[in-house]
Structure formats: structure tokens, C-alpha cells
């Protein structure tokens, strides 16, 4: 069989079709875009991590003794764990698309991603960015309460010894608190452990751990008072 001069034919085809190499700028832009995506997923991964830390640090862990392991299961920030996982996977995918990204093992890329987002996320948590994000999302996006466990809901069960509300009046051993349903409760604060940070002033919100009085309506004997 006759051997074709493949190189010559290809060059002829290039010349006849007027094919010109794609501009270097196009490839540079493509590379920059992939790196922008990688950085983007690192940053939003770090933000998710800071929200997770904020939720875990602000969780009412003292309720663990009262409610048991179910409390931990209920209050873990699953939504944010899923977000972090998703951004980690996307970060890995885009890193792999960078020039030499494919040379590294998935485990190495994910490991480095977790270290970077961990450090950045911890810094963001300490400057209270995580808390700010969570507060902003929960007050502006109604659907958020559907995907995350409402930690305040746990405090609307006076029959289980958990109550939250706003102080409306203060007397010697009894303070009056209005709960989320507008019911006014008499809180017996005699022999109650009060968190040092709590300010017992009218208008302040508090969380109360105690027992509902069996004999008198809307009387609650407080064992502990905490900040909301």
C-alpha cells in the first residue's frame, strides 16, 4: 500500500483552509477561569466551615445532660455539612481542570482543600463571619428554616422544662416572661443558677431550664437561666 505523506497533507489542509492557531489569550483566559472557580469554591467552602463552627460553638450543649444523644443528632448542622461536601467536590473538579491538576491524587487535592478551608473558616469564625451569615440567612430567607433544625423550637416546650421569652417585669424572686405565643409566665428564680452573661432586665431575652408547676398555671420554677 502506498504510504501517504501525512505531514505534508496536514500542512496543505491547514494552509488551504486558512487555519490559524487560536489566540493564546483564549487559553490564558480559560486557565484563569478555572483558577477563579477553584478560589471561589475554597472561599465559599471556608464560609460554610465558619457557619458550622458558629453553630457548633453556639449550640446549647448544656442540654445534652437533659435531652441525651438525640439532642446532638437533632442540632448538628447537616445542611452546612452537605454544602461543605458539595463545594469540596466542586473545588476538586475545577482544580483537576487546571493545567497540571490531574497529576495529583483526589485524596491529596481534597486533603489540601480541607486544610485551607479549615484554616480560613476558623479565622472567619473568630471574626464572627459565620454567625453573621447564619443570622442573615435565617432572617432573610424563609426557606432556610425548612432545611435546618430550628434551635429555638426546642425551647418552646415548657412541659419538658424548656422555655424562652422576653422579660416583661422583674420582682424579687419572680420575673415575668412573655413566650413566643404571648403567654406570660411567672418564673420563680429563687435558688436558680444564672449565667454570668445574662442581664436580668426588662426587654432582655432569656432561656430557662426548669419545671412547670403542676398546681399553679403559668408558673415555672427555673433551675438555670441562659443567654438566648
Amino acid at each position: 500500500m502506498e504510504n501517504k505523506d501525512i505531514s505534508q497533507i496536514a500542512l496543505q489542509k491547514i494552509k488551504e483552509s486558512g487555519i490559524k492557531p487560536i489566540s493564546k489569550k483564549v487559553f490564558s483566559l480559560k486557565r484563569i477561569i478555572f483558577w477563579v472557580f477553584v478560589c471561589f469554591f475554597v472561599v465559599i467552602g471556608a464560609l460554610s466551615y465558619s457557619v458550622i463552627l458558629s453553630i457548633l460553638f453556639n449550640n446549647d450543649w448544656y442540654l445534652y445532660n437533659k435531652l441525651g444523644f438525640i439532642f446532638t443528632l437533632k442540632t448538628l448542622p447537616y445542611f452546612w455539612f452537605i454544602c461543605l461536601l458539595l463545594f469540596t467536590v466542586l473545588g476538586e473538579i475545577y482544580y483537576r481542570k487546571t493545567l497540571l491538576g490531574y497529576r495529583h491524587r483526589i485524596i491529596t487535592i481534597i486533603g489540601i482543600y480541607i486544610i485551607i478551608t479549615g484554616i480560613l473558616g476558623t479565622i472567619l469564625h473568630f471574626v464572627e463571619v459565620g454567625e453573621m451569615i447564619e443570622n442573615s440567612i435565617s432572617s432573610n430567607i424563609p426557606a432556610y428554616s425548612v432545611v435546618v433544625f430550628d434551635r429555638d423550637e426546642i425551647w418552646s416546650h415548657p412541659e419538658q422544662g424548656l422555655l424562652t421569652g422576653q422579660i416583661v417585669e422583674i420582682n424579687d424572686d419572680v420575673i415575668k416572661v412573655s413566650d413566643s405565643n404571648g403567654i406570660i409566665w411567672d418564673i420563680n428564680v429563687n435558688d436558680t443558677s444564672i449565667d454570668k452573661k445574662v442581664k436580668l432586665e426588662v426587654g432582655e431575652y432569656i432561656k430557662i431550664v426548669g419545671d412547670m408547676d403542676d398546681d399553679i398555671d403559668n408558673l415555672f420554677n427555673a433551675n438555670e437561666i441562659h443567654l438566648p
Binding site: I6, S7, A10, I14, S23
Partner: protein, 191 residues
């Protein structure tokens, strides 16, 4: 007019730079890789020389069209092999053919050395058996074995051609060799 006599003294990277200024220099690059790539395409596909030549033409045109994408952090040979690999895989899929392997005498020798296969057996018989075993090996093992033992690429080059981590390439070669040897022993010695 380009002086092609200077070509052998130029590195691949120099020829890439020159080709970007004048497409005639591209001929020096393609001539350098024409035979290697044609054999590679024929080895990893069932295509005859004629079809493999058509694929290679497309590879060269694509290479020229994307020449600015080539980054000197890579070897040019790895980059052009990658284009050839992708184009061949795409053609195999388009034509829905089961890949086979095309061998020459030197290929058999290289395989026998690499796999510690006895040379007492008739070459034609070997060729047929090696072809059969490789054709039935999973694609991921077949492509690394061909690149490693027939095209004599190192692990980093294979990693760059197939866009797989170097450690994965190492594992695939190890596992592919084991599978190949097992199948070969089964066929030859009935073990």
C-alpha cells in the same frame, strides 16, 4: 521559505515557537512524530493504516489549531500524544469498534522482555496471543501497557498523556502487567 535542514537541531519547544510565526515550520514537528504517532494509533485501535493516517491528519490539524495551548511545563511529545489519544478514542467510539492491537516484530520483543515471556514460541503465535490478550484487557490497562512498553513512555509522560495522577498510572501498570501475565500463562501453559 523555511529551511528544513535546520529542523533536527531545533528542540520541540523551539519548533512550536517557530510554527506559530510560520506554519511551514510545523512540518518539522509533524515529521518528527508522524511515524511514532501512526504506530501508536494503529496499536490502540483496530484501524488499518489508511484510517489511522486520516486520524493522524486530524491530529496534526488539531495540534496546529491549538498550538497556543501548549505549555512548556509539559513535554511537547506528551501533549501531542494526548491529542492523538483523545482523537483515536473518539474515533473508536464513533465507529463502535472493539479496539485491537497491531504489532510488529520489535513490539513483540519489547513485550517479551517486559513481561518475562519465553521466546521459544513462534513469533506469529505470540503476536496473535498478545494481540488477543491485550484486546480483551480493560481499556484502562491496555492504554497504559501500550504507552509504557511499546511507546516507552515514563510514568509522568503517561500521566500527562492520559491526564491521570502519576500514582494511578503506576498502579494501573502494575495491575495491568499482572492481569496480562495471568492471561498469557493461562493461554500458553493452561495454568
Amino acid at each position: 521559505m523555511t529551511n528544513h535542514e535546520e529542523c533536527p537541531n531545533k528542540t520541540d519547544n523551539e519548533l512550536v515557537r517557530l510554527s506559530l510565526d510560520n506554519s511551514d515550520h510545523f512540518l518539522c514537528l509533524t515529521r518528527r512524530y508522524e511515524s511514532k504517532l501512526l504506530h501508536y494509533i494503529m496499536r490502540v485501535s483496530k484501524f488499518r493504516r489508511e484510517e489511522a493516517s486520516d486520524i493522524l491528519q486530524d491530529v496534526f490539524v488539531k495540534t496546529y489549531y491549538n498550538l497556543n495551548e501548549f505549555d512548556e511545563d509539559l513535554k511537547f511529545s506528551s501533549w501531542i500524544y494526548r491529542i492523538a489519544h483523545n482523537q483515536t478514542v473518539s474515533e473508536i467510539r464513533k465507529k463502535s469498534v472493539r479496539p485491537s492491537v497491531s504489532f510488529e516484530k520489535e513490539d513483540i520483543d519489547r513485550f517479551e522482555d517486559a513481561f518475562d515471556i519465553t521466546k521459544e514460541i513462534d513469533n506469529n503465535f505470540d503476536r496473535e496471543k498478545i494481540n488477543e490478550i491485550l484486546s480483551h484487557l480493560d481499556e484502562k490497562y491496555r492504554e497504559v501497557l501500550i504507552l509504557r512498553f511499546l511507546d516507552e513512555k515514563d510514568y509522568v509522560e503517561i500521566s500527562d498523556i492520559l491526564k491521570k495522577p502519576v500514582s494511578t498510572v503506576g498502579n494501573l501498570i502494575l495491575r495491568g502487567k499482572k492481569l496480562f501475565k495471568e492471561e498469557y500463562d493461562k493461554l500458553i501453559y493452561g495454568k
